[in-house]
Symmetry: C2
Subunit: 682 residues, 2 copies
């Protein structure tokens, strides 16, 4: 797959966005009704692209590791999300314009205003005529597109700032993700940050919970939320899943589905929306056994890691090393985490993500989600900068523990120990036959007291009994004193053999934002051919492209109709999604319109096809073609299912199926079959 797009320089996002809307990859939802911020519909190409990404995800993760895939509900009773911590903590800070009522997300606003002031400072420092056209790039790779956005929002005024102010702004921006609400309010006061459009004052930052609320049922008594992640459904089914897995550990559950975040200010197209598709894995692992049985298969995978320690030094360049080395050097905490980072990397590359524009950044301690003790984000670089597309969190035993406490259901793994664990313990033994009659109506409260004692307290009581010649006084749970004696009370050391170890598993959670991956992928595979006609190409890998093959008759002649029909039927039988273009556009234009959709192959039918039963097969990126004579015999391809010495239309179809399933590469095909070089008619 050829892609020119290793740098941002020639890239024009406005043109790409126009293309994506025009070809209906996606579009704002409810446009006729004015649209709703953060809601997008996927049209046929976008929908197919998403489905192919998810299909590949299932094969790469669920199928490959025998994961247990579940499909849980979106509607979640509020009690569940109270317990998980989301009701309290899943919020952003917002400020409101006191006059207009307009609402801003506080951190985004501070960011926009300070960036505008820094831009103004740059303008003031540079010469007037040069500045506006300059392509400004800062250290973290944000492009000039973002500068243009800032200018709009921040009303850039060319004002020079003092050096210390400039440094202070830059420091604030570097840490912008880490401030609490009150801290943001303080910054806004200190630096006089107001509504950039109107100049009005803004309220103190107030928390806004990011979950959509709804009532369940007719009474109004049962409050619920739309889930902000698929994870909780998976955790709550832990026991059933463990049982389904024959009590074997480790195992992973997986779930693909929509989640919801009632964002204060959706922006950046598909990157910050209110409703989105997630694919999440919950890998349940013994906290004492964080090796991974298949780690060796991935240990040489090279990753670009931006660890906590590098960031703490103020640096932004990741180091590149194999995951095996990263584990040895203790950059990544354990092999299970390392295994998943490598598998995430391999998946994204398989999709077509440019490895040079992919890195893994570890969360700093104060930016972790409330449930995570470690987290590495797969960040993909697009024209919007480095954006988190996959989060790989260590949720330790947080979720299972909070749900277990709340529901009083043990969420544990019971493991038969290979050799029993032997230990001693001080225990209490009450001879009820004597104890009951002796203490009569007070028996209960005395027993309650006695059974509440821990080992140390029992040892202490034993001493008291010895000192008192077998008798002593203890309080009942009512506080009164009661006499107890060794007649009915024995306190002794006893040896136990524990055959079963019970533990709460830890969870490693790779969590994929499919819309973000999809958008970033498009940016990575998008390029323009040489020449003035603005011919765009989306060079998706064949397995991912929305349509697999274009079917075109060379001209609009009735003789082709039957052959087109026949080809269509055969391609459908092979389950190959096609697009037919029998419009009156030139053949070159029809190829080009499908290059825009990223369709990797095109079959062209002409008069020779009708006569001889041969067709041409064109490849998208090279635009090269092969043509083959009709024959009726197959021969096996030993490395994939088929090869052919002599071949006909069926052969082309079979080659196509192999190409589409990536059992064979175009290079192999082109090396086997002579190239067909009829001129493309433009």
């Amino acid at each position: 797959m050829s892609t020119n797009n290793t740098s941002n320089n020639a890239f024009n996002r406005t043109i790409l966005e126009e293309l994506l809307k025009k070809r209906f990859f996606y579009a704002p939802a409810f446009q006729a009704y004015g649209g709703v911020a953060g809601l997008y519909d996927y049209g046929p190409p976008g929908c197919a692209l998403q489905a192919n990404i998810l299909d590949l995800w299932r094969r790469h993760f669920v199928l490959e590791e025998d994961m247990l895939e579940v499909d849980c509900t979106i509607i979640t009773p509020s009690d569940v999300l109270k317990t998980s911590g989301h009701v309290e903590k899943f919020a952003d800070w917002m400020v409101k314009d006191l006059k207009t009522g307009e609402i801003f997300r506080a951190d985004h606003l501070v960011e926009a205003v300070l960036e505008a002031r820094l831009e103004g400072d740059r303008q003031a420092r540079a010469s007037e005529s040069d500045v506006i056209a300059a392509v400004t790039k800062d250290a973290d790779g944000k492009s000039s597109e973002q500068d243009k956005k800032r200018k709009k929002k921040g009303k850039v005024q060319a004002v020079k700032l003092g050096d210390s102010v400039k440094a202070e702004y830059e420091e604030i921006l570097a840490k912008i993700d880490n401030y609490t609400g009150p801290e943001l309010g303080e910054l806004m006061r200190k630096h006089e940050i107001k509504n950039p459009e109107t100049g009005s004052d803004l309220t103190e930052p107030v928390e806004f919970n990011l979950m959509f609320e709804s009532n369940i049922g007719p009474t109004g008594a049962l409050k619920g939320y739309l889930r902000p992640e698929t994870a909780q459904g998976q955790f709550l089914n832990f026991k059933k899943l463990l049982e389904f897995n024959n009590d074997k550990m480790p195992f992973a559950s997986a779930s693909i589905g929509r989640s919801f975040r009632n964002e204060i200010s959706p922006r950046s197209g598909l990157l910050r929306v209110r409703e989105f598709v997630m694919a999440e894995i919950e890998h349940f692992v013994d906290p004492l056994k964080k090796d991974h049985p298949r780690f060796n298969e991935v240990k040489d995978t090279k990753l670009r890691l931006l660890s906590q320690s590098i960031q703490a030094e103020g640096k932004t360049q990741p180091i590149e090393l194999s995951i095996g080395d990263a584990i040895d050097q203790k950059i990544v905490d354990n092999k299970t985490l390392g295994y998943f980072l490598a598998r995430i990397h391999l998946f994204l590359i398989k999709l077509g993500i440019n490895p040079l524009r992919l890195r893994f950044r570890q969360h700093m301690p104060n930016e972790m989600a409330h449930y995570a003790c470690d987290c590495w984000d797969a960040e993909i670089q697009s024209s919007y900068g480095w954006i988190e597309c996959v989060g790989c969190a260590d949720r330790s035993a947080y979720d299972l523990t909070v749900h277990s406490i709340r529901t009083k259901e043990k969420l544990v793994v019971r493991e038969t120990l290979p050799t029993p664990q032997v230990y001693e313990k001080t225990i209490l033994d009450i001879n009820q036959k004597i104890f009951g009659p002796k203490l009569r109506q007070n028996a209960k409260i005395v027993e309650e007291y006695l059974t509440s004692l821990d080992e140390q307290q029992l040892e202490s009581l034993k001493e008291d009994l010895e000192k008192g010649n077998g008798k002593t006084t203890v309080p009942g749970t009512n506080g009164e004193g009661y006499e107890v004696s060794t007649e009915f009370l024995t306190i002794k050391r006893q040896t136990f053999a524990e055959h079963v170890r019970e533990y709460t598993p830890n969870v490693i959670e790779p969590s994929f934002g499919i819309g973000r991956i999809l958008y970033s992928l498009i940016e990575h595979v998008y390029w323009m051919r040489e020449g003035s006609e603005q011919r765009a190409v989306l060079s998706f890998p064949a397995r991912v492209s929305p349509f697999k093959c274009l079917l075109v008759p060379l001209s609009h002649h009735p003789t082709f109709t039957d052959l087109i029909q026949d080809m269509t039927t055969r391609l459908r039988k092979l389950s190959i999604p096609i697009k037919i273009d029998d419009s009156s556009n030139s053949i070159g234009r029809r190829y080009s319109r499908n290059d825009e959709l990223g369709t990797p192959f095109a079959i062209t039918i002409d008069f020779q096809s009708v006569k001889e039963g041969t067709v041409t097969l064109r490849e998208r990126d090279t635009t090269k073609q092969i043509r083959e004579k009709a024959k009726a015999i197959f021969r096996f391809l030993l490395s994939s299912y088929l090869t052919a010495a002599f071949y006909n239309i069926d052969t082309i179809l079979v080659i196509l199926k192999d190409l589409v399933e990536e059992n064979i590469t175009w290079e192999t095909v082109i090396s086997r079959y002579p190239e067909f070089t009829q001129q493309e008619l433009d």
Copy 2:
């Protein structure tokens, strides 16, 4: 596929439900938190089954007809659903117990209470000892399970009813779906229907809107709902989809996704839930051209049709005839509708639905949804009775029209006419150069009046002008009279040639409730083997079964480990989802546990496998096996991709892939390869 389940008699739903929960096909969501009525999670087998049904649906509909699949948002602004009529009409009637506050759905309550009284009447009429055990079946096939349910709800008392009362109850029950709220209230008063549990009075029926509400964004100003169907998103994208289809008609959009209904009383397991997966098609068709280009391919498909006229006669037995005949006899309105009924039928049969337990029932006029002018439901019979699983509605131009009016966006097809449509029209021509100066400041209001006239009114005005010698008086839009004359006013007949025809398409909408289909399918394929051990089998077609192959080593011997690993890797490469069972259970038990999951094939590895490279392949329903010697050569199967004269483990895998994709049947395999009859070890 062998299924014994053509009648209900031996079927026990409680046992099946226990099996489905035990094997985690699905389970109530949030069980540890007490559950929420109408919310279910799908575990690994149910999730896979659902995914396979949807995959088959895409191939059968979307791929086969080049439908345009979209993925739209669940969150919908309230304005859209006001326009569509759902805010006003998408409701059920509820009544409330005045003392306890308990809420019932009014029609279900009336149904339950009257059925209980009829059951009590039956008990009173029959002899005491016989009645309780009797299997009661009424004309529409409801089983005794439902009677047991009724008994619980309705507190059956053995009281004999008068004949006329009994007849009245039966008539009410036959029409129970058709009453309005006030009518239900009247019935409840007349027949003294109260809370069956407490005997308390109930409120008048009140409408409860069935959509989940939520606020979008932080201001609280933008109200939204969770969509009750995927249809609106498809309609609102009509223009973009028409453009994507190169303005060609007819075409269909399709959408798979979750929809939501805040049911008053969820019940019947997966059949009435609050959150469910739908797959919907919107087929846009010219109202004047309701033929279908592919109708002939399906015209001989036999369907069982319960039309309006049959039901109006009080009958409940459908007629069986080909869809071609049904069109000819005008039982089904048009070929597009007929084509889809046939395609729905073929899809359901392909899934494994028993055709004897499938029928198409037409809605009576007063039960149509507010947007439909015709509707045929595919009803599947299960232990819950005949349940609508697919609705095939004719929505005419309703939705596009209401959205067009509200948004002022034309949602039409513009069709270039092959020959221009020539017509005459009476038109008005105002010579502004004279009109303006003549009428001066009154020109505007007079012109507004004149341009508002229709053809008839213009003809009338023309007559007035002729009578008045070229002059007459007309009112301005202010009501005052103004003189006009033929100096500046010409009214004439003119001929037009219309080259473009503009029309609003009609919509035929097949709408699939995937959860209902999934549950009904399970009931249809479920059966018990002969014998006392209660061995259940789910005889899913191979393409639909959650797992395709069980992999078992005959015993738990270390020599098998490498071979198991090798087979696993190969099966994964073929994308065949498998389950490995290397537990210490007997081989028979392991086969049986996977028959419960519906796994169609099992590969068993034994010592001969290690020595010779052969394995056995067992089929689920017949339990028969084949075994083959190891050889290294393939040969083509000419009808599907491969055959083999001599074959080895790879051969078995390739046969398996063909079986799983249903390119070949087990019958063909067994006819080609000698049967292997080693005794199954139990």
